[in-house]
């Protein structure tokens, strides 16, 4: 079962009992799931349950060496979609992607990798 990882995350994040939800506060940091993919096509969805005023999320795909004490998309090891303005980020550079998303929205993430590793 793919869940939020307990040991592959910034320790200050709060993971729910069922390991399907995460809550953060203060500065950006990251949690990854228990399973990675290396070839083929994969898709997952995230629902934004609660987003207080002034808060933001960056969701997407990350490789093993992505810095967990930084937002996803900070370095070359991650690709993020930000809630604020819907900006996409990679290597700390934001580019326009969509309109903003927030509480109640469901985001979908597709990755298409070559079939050979």
């Amino acid at each position: 079962t793919v869940l939020l990882a307990l040991h592959d995350r910034a320790p200050q994040l709060r993971i729910s009992e069922d390991r399907l939800s995460v809550t953060g506060e203060k500065g950006y940091c990251m949690v990854r799931s228990t399973h990675a993919v290396s070839r083929g096509s994969w898709y997952f969805e995230v629902t934004v349950d609660d987003m207080k005023d002034g808060s933001a999320a960056r969701l997407g795909w990350a490789q093993e060496y992505a810095n967990l004490q930084a937002p996803l998309g900070y370095d070359k090891f991650g690709y993020a979609w930000r809630s604020r303005k819907g900006t996409r980020f990679h290597e700390s550079r934001g580019k326009h992607y969509s309109s903003s998303y927030g509480e109640g929205d469901v985001l979908g993430f597709l990755i298409v990798l070559p079939n050979d590793i």
């Binding site: 500065g27 810095n67 004490q69 930084a70 900070y74």
Partner: protein, 155 residues
């Protein structure tokens, strides 16, 4: 002999009359004691902005680009004290290869603080110094501590 938390609370009141910033023979300005200090005495906290470690690279680049001297002190893997833009007189303590003080990270009521202690009795007017303990690096920084056991480089 008093608990660390009690000594720390007392430090807030005393540090300002114990030490002062003056011109240093070692480098630029330094911190000097305004009265005799006993060996083991808690002298001053290295105070500043508590930032996550992941922010240091960006800040260092920013300060270097602006020609601002960078004053940072690592607490642990997670946090760093950045005294470059907000801090206290402890940021002026120079390095020495034969120091009269030492630094220690102390947990007080769940929060970590960088505290400077006297290694020995320090006479009024002496400059306070501690060993920066910089890691070894290719690009060397010259040491001007003037001590007999000077290691020539800070790193």
């Amino acid at each position: 002999s008093l608990p660390m938390a009690m000594r720390f609370r007392h430090l807030r009141e005393t540090a300002k009359i114990t030490v002062g910033v003056f011109r240093s023979d070692i480098h630029g300005r330094g911190l000097f004691c305004l009265r005799d200090i006993d060996g083991g005495e808690m002298v001053i906290e290295y105070a500043g902005e508590v930032i996550r470690s992941s922010l240091t690279d960006k800040r260092e680049k920013y300060y270097t680009a602006k020609g601002i001297g960078c004053y940072m002190f690592r607490i642990d893997d997670k946090s760093v004290i950045d005294a470059t833009m907000k801090g206290n007189a402890a940021r002026f303590i120079n390095h020495s290869c034969e120091p009269n003080c030492y630094s220690k990270v102390v947990d007080i009521l769940g929060k970590k603080h960088i505290l400077i202690f006297a290694l020995r009795k320090i006479i009024q007017g002496e400059e306070l110094t501690y060993d920066y303990k910089f890691p070894l690096e290719e690009d060397k920084i010259n040491c001007h501590c003037l001590s007999r056991k000077c290691r020539k480089y800070l790193n």
